[in-house]
C-alpha cells in the first residue's frame, strides 16, 4: 500500500451533472482510501442547501427526471444520498464564506458538518494534496 493520497475538488456550478460528477469522484476516491476535500463555491454552494435537488442546466432542466430514472436503474444514488455517503466515508465538505454572503445562504440552511472557509483556507489544504480537480 502506498501512502495516503489526497484529493482537492472545487465545485463552482450547482447543476445536477456537476454535483453528481463531484460526488462520484469523491466517493470513489474515498473508497480507495484517499483523503478528500471538496470546496463548494459560487453556484456550487446551492448544492449544500438542505434537501437540495439539483436540476440539469438550461433547456436540459426538463430532462432531469429522465436522467434520475436512468441513474437509479443502474444503481447510482441521487445527489443528496451521494453527499451523505461521501460524509460517511470521511470526505470533508467546505462552504465558501464569500459565496454564502453573495448567494444569501445561511449556515442553518446548509447541511450539517460543512466547514466554512475562505479561499485562502481551502488553498492551504489544497496545497498539500496530490490531485486537484475543478468542476465548474
Amino acid at each position: 500500500m502506498t501512502e495516503t493520497k489526497k484529493v482537492a475538488i472545487i465545485v463552482s456550478e450547482g447543476s445536477f451533472d456537476k454535483g453528481i460528477m463531484a460526488m462520484m469522484i469523491a466517493n470513489t476516491a474515498a473508497s480507495m482510501g484517499m483523503e478528500v476535500h471538496i470546496f463548494f463555491t459560487f453556484f456550487g454552494l446551492n448544492l449544500l442547501k438542505k434537501g437540495s435537488k439539483p436540476k440539469l442546466k438550461g433547456m436540459y432542466r426538463l430532462f432531469t427526471g429522465t436522467f434520475v430514472k436512468r441513474m437509479s436503474k443502474v444503481g447510482i444514488p441521487q445527489f443528496g444520498e451521494q453527499l451523505s455517503m461521501a460524509i460517511d466515508q470521511g470526505v470533508t465538505i467546505y462552504a465558501c464564506s464569500t459565496s454564502m454572503e453573495l448567494m444569501g445562504i445561511k449556515k442553518e440552511n446548509m447541511i450539517d458538518g460543512a466547514k466554512i472557509v475562505g479561499a485562502a483556507g481551502f488553498l492551504n489544504i489544497a496545497a498539500d494534496t496530490d490531485m486537484q480537480y475543478f468542476i465548474g
Partner: protein
C-alpha cells in the same frame, strides 16, 4: 464460506464504494467474492486493490458477468 458481494445492476462508483464497506466486515486474511456486470470493473477492481493494498486473488469473466476474489490484507 466466502462472503459474496453481488453488485450486478450497479454502475461505477457503487461497486467500489460497497467493496470498501464490505471488506471492513471480514477478517484480515479472509476473502470475499464480488460479482459485477459493469465492464468498467475490469479496471476498477484491480485499481482499487492496488490502491488500498488488498489482494486480487482471482478475476474471472463469463459472458457479461465478472467475478473477483479479493483477499483482505490489512
Amino acid at each position: 464460506m466466502t462472503d459474496v458481494l453481488d453488485c450486478k445492476g450497479l454502475m461505477c462508483p457503487m461497486p467500489v464504494v460497497q467493496l470498501a464497506k464490505k471488506i471492513k466486515t471480514i477478517d484480515v486474511g479472509q476473502e470475499l467474492e464480488l460479482i459485477s456486470d459493469d465492464v468498467g470493473s475490469k479496471e476498477d477492481i484491480p485499481a482499487w486493490c492496488q490502491r488500498t493494498g488488498n489482494e486480487l486473488v482471482e478475476a474471472k469473466e463469463s459472458g457479461k458477468i465478472f467475478t473477483y476474489r479479493i483477499k483482505r490484507l490489512k
